[in-house]
């Protein structure tokens, strides 16, 4: 079989997955979620803001306190602050720049006082869209909904249509996996690019790092979907795939969290060496959703809005966190799971 035929087969399997997604309703639901979020982004308006920093300046909302100094929290200071806040004109006359603008959503129906720069406010919205809507709700929805794609592909009555063909079984399996990834990748890309464009057009904030969410979210899905493929090959049951992949997702969070905490604790007096070795092994051989969240946190500069979670601090301080190694090892696990699936699929009777 030549490359052209192989490409044609892959193309047909991808097309088949898109048709399956359309028929199952997941395509419509994800498109509806994207449409709602795009409309929400198009309804955003920022007014009355000022630029407080240059492009490469670090964000510091308060001057770093000198060692030994007392924070200015006296009643008199608070009084001055409230006077300036209530009278921005007075503040401006005194040479103090204050932000007194507003951010409105739903075409002005909901208004929030703007306490930060425009780019920061939009960054916060992008964080909610990428981390909350796409990264948690969208990813779980896709994982649950596509859990039935492989079992129906391998149904006893349907399988002979595919398997009594000159295509190798592993090729069919990988083709279908690629099909599901292409579908989810398309939906993620559509969501991220459309919301990025909508926010950019409305606010002139073009945060390019937001686009990094596309490969990152797709990577997370690819890792968790590989267990669904293995379960589908072994059990041919949609329920097993559904519960198995969600359980695996939760388990991966638990393992990742436990191993990071064990690795981050100081010195062998707290953790026995064998437990540390176990935590190390568990960290490297399981998917790393916390690592992925940390990468997303850093890319979207979420520390501008939230205190860095303790688990992230432990991860970075523990054993030298490397995003590249983390991603590569997670991809390695995905590869192993897919190889196991292909092996099992090849020797299964239909």
């Amino acid at each position: 079989m030549n490359i052209r035929t192989n490409l044609a087969i892959a193309e047909q399997l991808i097309r088949d997955t898109f048709r399956q997604a359309r028929a199952s309703g997941i395509a419509g639901i994800l498109l509806a979620v994207t449409a709602i979020c795009v409309v929400l982004c198009l309804s955003v308006r920022v007014s009355g803001d000022v630029a407080l920093q240059g492009g490469d300046e670090p964000v510091l909302f308060l001057p770093q306190p000198l060692p030994g100094t007392v924070p200015p929290t006296t009643a008199a200071d608070r009084g001055v602050h409230s006077v300036l806040e209530a009278n921005p004109e007075l503040a401006r006359r005194e040479g103090i720049e204050t932000i007194s603008g507003s951010l409105t959503l739903a075409f002005g129906a909901v208004s929030f006082p703007l306490t930060r720069e425009r780019a920061d406010a939009i960054g916060f919205l992008e964080l909610l869209l990428a981390g909350g809507v796409a990264g948690t709700f969208g990813l779980l929805l896709a994982l649950v909904w596509t859990a039935g794609f492989f079992p129906s592909f391998l149904e006893p009555h349907a399988a002979p249509t595919l398997l009594a063909k000159p295509v190798a079984r592993w090729q069919l399996l990988l083709g279908k996996y690629l099909g599901v990834l292409t579908f989810v990748g398309f939906q993620v890309a559509l969501f991220i690019v459309a919301t990025w464009l909508a926010l950019g057009v409305r606010t002139q904030v073009w945060n390019l790092s937001y686009l990094w969410c596309i490969p990152l979210l797709l990577l997370q899905f690819a890792i968790f979907y590989s267990i669904s493929v293995l379960l589908a090959v072994v059990t041919r049951s949609t329920m097993a795939c559904l519960f198995g992949s969600v359980l695996y997702w939760l388990l991966a969070w638990g393992i990742n969290c436990g191993s990071v905490m064990a690795r981050g604790l100081p010195g062998p007096e707290y953790v026995p060496s064998f437990a540390l070795a176990l935590a190390d092994a568990a960290y490297w051989i399981s998917p790393k959703p916390i690592d992925a969240q940390l990468i997303l946190f850093n890319i979207l500069r979420a520390e501008h809005h939230f205190e860095r979670p303790v688990i992230f601090k432990l991860l970075e301080s523990g054993c030298g966190f490397s995003p590249h190694l983390s991603i590569l090892s997670s991809l390695g696990i995905t590869g192993v799971l897919l190889a196991l699936s292909a092996f099992e699929f090849d020797r299964a009777d239909y």
């Binding site: 087969i9 193309e11 047909q12 349907a158 002979p160 063909k165 000159p166 020797r347 009777d349």
Partner: protein
């Protein structure tokens, strides 16, 4: 001597039991026979005789536990020869979200048929099985008979040298059964092979050259149809049912 299109040498198959390791269902027990090119060969036997298992082994859908099986002279593990095989089975399940045309295009690509060849063949096959006016409708809307017609078109898609039909008449109306008989006859005329499993003996009898009878996983008879139809005691012609009755008795 031409290479057999399908050959089984002492083939056994045991389906392992999920809950009781080491114990399983023995579906085939040392089956040996060959199907020659250009013949219409029937595989008969009562329920649970192992007919479908034998076909699955031939098509690479399951592996034999023992013995050897060959397709077009090559071991059945050699998948490239599947490009020359068409398969239709009872209760064929196609993805319900596909249309007949998209299913045949999808299946044709998997069968390594060139797009230029596939493009005119798909509408021609749908026309032949009487589905051209419903070609753009999802299979979910089809009746069982229509799905079986589509399964027939699917089996003929690669213009196969070996056509494997497992209970092909199931769910077909009289017109489609007539079409099926015509297709089998056309294959024989073209020097191609048909391997058919069916319980519709009356319809099958005139069409086949040789037959094999499986009983409880063992080969009980393999030979020309004419020989089995002759009563050894009286020398008269008898019905296939009458001929099979003593063979199929456990």
């Amino acid at each position: 001597m031409p290479t057999p299109v399908a050959e089984f040498v002492d083939v056994t198959k045991t389906y392992p039991s999920t809950w009781r390791p080491g114990r399983g269902v023995q579906a085939l027990r040392g089956v040996s026979f060959a199907v020659e090119p250009g013949e219409v060969f029937a595989l008969l036997g009562p329920n649970r005789a192992g007919k479908t298992t034998l076909l699955k082994i031939l098509l690479g859908l399951c592996r034999p536990s023992g013995g050897r099986a060959f397709r077009m002279g090559c071991p059945v593990s050699e998948r490239s020869t599947l490009a020359r095989v068409g398969y239709m089975h009872e209760n064929q399940g196609f993805p319900r979200y596909l249309t007949a045309a998209s299913l045949l295009k999808f299946a044709g690509t998997l069968a390594s048929i060139q797009p230029a060849v596939l493009r005119p063949r798909v509408p021609a096959l749908l026309e032949m099985v009487g589905l051209s006016d419903r070609a753009r409708e999802p299979i979910a809307h089809y009746s069982k008979g229509m799905v079986q017609r589509l399964a027939l078109a699917h089996a003929l898609l690669a213009e196969p040298d070996l056509l494997v039909l497992d209970e092909p008449a199931e769910g077909l109306d009289w017109a489609a059964r007539g079409l099926l008989r015509e297709i089998i006859a056309a294959h024989r005329r073209a020097g191609k092979t048909v391997l058919v499993v069916s319980h519709a003996l009356a319809e099958l009898t005139p069409a086949c050259d040789r037959l094999a009878v499986l009983v409880e996983g063992r080969l009980a008879y393999c030979g020309p149809l004419a020989a089995i139809l002759r009563d050894p005691d009286t020398g008269r012609q008898r019905s296939l049912e009458a001929a099979l009755a003593p063979i199929c008795r456990p």
